[in-house]
């Protein structure tokens, strides 16, 4: 199955800029469906970015993060060809991870 995570990591000399887009419903638990039944909360809680075994960015998310979440950040270091490991875990215990090469 295709990964739920799409990442673009670009090295620009001193820093590496990372953009990630994840496919996830991010249901808040406040919305009702067409039948009037509440859709249970289902959202990513933690998203981790690792470079060379070191966490460079950690996101703690609540259900107020938009569907198919997007996040952008940058860290010092990283080189072209380095691997960046990205993983998430949601409130139902589901998870996914992927690795991306820094371009």
């Amino acid at each position: 199955m295709a990964s739920t995570i799409r990442v673009r990591a670009t090295n620009t000399g001193d820093t590496t800029e990372v953009q990630a887009l994840i496919q996830h419903p991010m249901d808040s638990g406040f919305i009702k469906d067409a039948k009037g039944e509440t859709i249970p909360a289902h959202f990513i809680q933690q998203l981790t970015f690792e470079h060379n075994g070191k966490t460079v960015f950690l996101a703690d998310w609540g259900p107020a993060v938009s569907k198919d979440p997007y996040v952008k950040f940058a860290f010092k270091g990283g080189a072209k060809g380095d691997e960046l490991k990205i993983s998430w875990v949601d409130n139902k215990g589901a998870s996914d991870s992927t690795t991306a090469k820094i371009a």
Binding site: T55, F57, A59, D60, G62, A64, V65, K76
Partner: protein
């Protein structure tokens, strides 16, 4: 210090001894290590008001600072996807958090910034209605904030 201590701090107050010991242990960690061991701040995400969520997450209050730059639209046509970014010129930043004051639960997202990571984050948040978006930057153990009102024409929590 990082956000992970605040839930434990709360437990200390409640007298949960074992967790308190763990909490004290993490106090001496470097920011990078603390980030690696970071626990999801469940309690903070359950708070309804921004003041309570801030207290649960950090255990202290923030002061407004013009060194925190919050980039959010004046008007968001779709409250389900509001692009919000924060940058700061403050040094020694260990975390950045976003609060949406009128959402059912005010805390939207909290980011751990280990040493070596640029203190700037862009993301997309849901907003129930027109209200203040508050960005909190933790720098050198102190909290700094920037607030901006975003007008929402269609709420992101409807249905």
């Amino acid at each position: 210090m990082s956000t992970c201590q605040s839930p434990t701090r709360r437990l200390i107050l409640q007298g949960a001894g074992a967790v308190a010991l763990f909490g004290l242990g993490t106090l001496s960690f470097t920011p990078a290590l603390a980030a690696a061991n970071d626990k999801y701040p469940e309690d903070a995400f359950k708070q309804k008001s921004d003041a309570d969520a801030l207290k649960a997450l950090y255990g202290k209050t923030a002061e407004a600072s013009d060194k925190v730059k919050l980039d959010a639209p004046e008007i968001a046509e779709n409250g389900a996807v509001v692009p919000i970014a924060v940058t700061t010129t403050l040094a020694d930043v260990s975390s950045i958090s976003f609060f949406v004051s009128e959402n059912p639960n005010a805390l939207a997202a909290s980011y751990i910034i280990p040493a070596g990571t640029v203190p700037a984050v862009a993301n997309r948040l849901k907003m129930a209605k027109t209200c203040n978006v508050i960005a909190i930057v933790e720098s050198g153990g102190k909290l700094y904030s920037a607030t901006k009102e975003v007008k929402v024409t269609v709420g992101g929590c409807g249905g």
